[in-house]
Amino acid sequence: MTEFRLLLTGEDSGARNMAVDEAIMREFRPGDKPTVRLYGWRPPAVTIGYFQAMGEEVNLEACSRFGVDVVRRITGGGAVFHDAELTYSFVCGEESGLVPKNILRSYSVICNSIVSGLRHLGIEAGFKPLNDVVANGKKISGNAQTRRDRVLLQHGTVLIRVDVEKMFSLLKVPDEKLLGKMIEDAKQRVTSVEEQVGREIYFEEVSQAIQQGFSENFRAELVKGGLSFGERALAEKIEKERFGSDGWTYLR
């Protein structure tokens, strides 16, 4: 059976979390085992996609007031409020053949790990192109991928609980008058593990299920490991130079 490295890095700041994902990708060498990392966010954070304009998407004053970190990702996609959530990242080499070269198909293959994992919680979910996993027609997971030097990084969310009102207070709304309607719309379009299973559920249980999901989907054994010295050092460097810098955060 193929072996993957499993990293359970716990809860961390937005900048640290994103730096670790990038460090794993950049330190990856041909022949290395793929890594599945599962993590959480403390304090809560908003991340925006690489191409998003910070000023258009995030209510910085509200984030500051609530002690919510703000971070620009290296991956595209939209603005995400990370709070009661399990986040995964998956890093592998393109040459491994584990994942299709075609980006759209690769999203489907990797997201299928989430679909499998959710099934272990009794949730019937499915992949919705380009980059969503939906349960009963509502989005439960958003995903974003980047590839660099023949290495792939995909990270994504599994919403455990969602507070739509809180989410909207942190993101910019084009028209305040429409806020009520937008909140109602979002409640129709977005769901969480807790809403789907109809009971209180916490990170550990979701983590176990997602681990099983990855294992089944890729027919791999997930073996617990730690960050290498090189990964740790690079993550610190990236955290300081990139994610902690205003030049990056306010890039566009």
């Binding site: 191409f51 304009a53 996609g77 980006i103 980059n131 566009r252």
Partner: protein, 92 residues
């Protein structure tokens, strides 16, 4: 002159365009949104490549498509015509 637009692509993502233009041509274009582009650095090629482009939907779509093709850029969430339309909306 300056202009901006927000354009939701049907079955796609959101495009935000911030434009500086004059004499029927783009001076500076800033494109943002929740789309994906590979490689990510291509956004700069696109914005740089749009400078001096005439402000017609056809010219814009053509310029965008040729930049994309020349640099093997992969776009997800919008196509050249969508961006051209969004730019024209910023001019209105």
């Amino acid at each position: 002159m300056k202009g901006s637009s927000v354009h939701k692509v049907e079955n796609g993502k959101m495009l935000r365009v911030s434009l500086e233009f004059g004499q029927g041509k783009i001076l500076e274009a800033k494109i943002s949104g929740d789309f994906f582009m590979h490689p990510e650095e291509s956004i700069k090629l696109l914005e740089d490549g749009l400078r001096g482009c005439g402000l017609s939907e056809e010219a814009l779509a053509g310029r965008i498509a040729s930049i994309v093709e020349a640099n093997s850029v992969q776009l997800f969430g919008f196509g050249p015509k969508d961006l051209a339309r969004a730019i024209m909306e910023a001019v209105q």
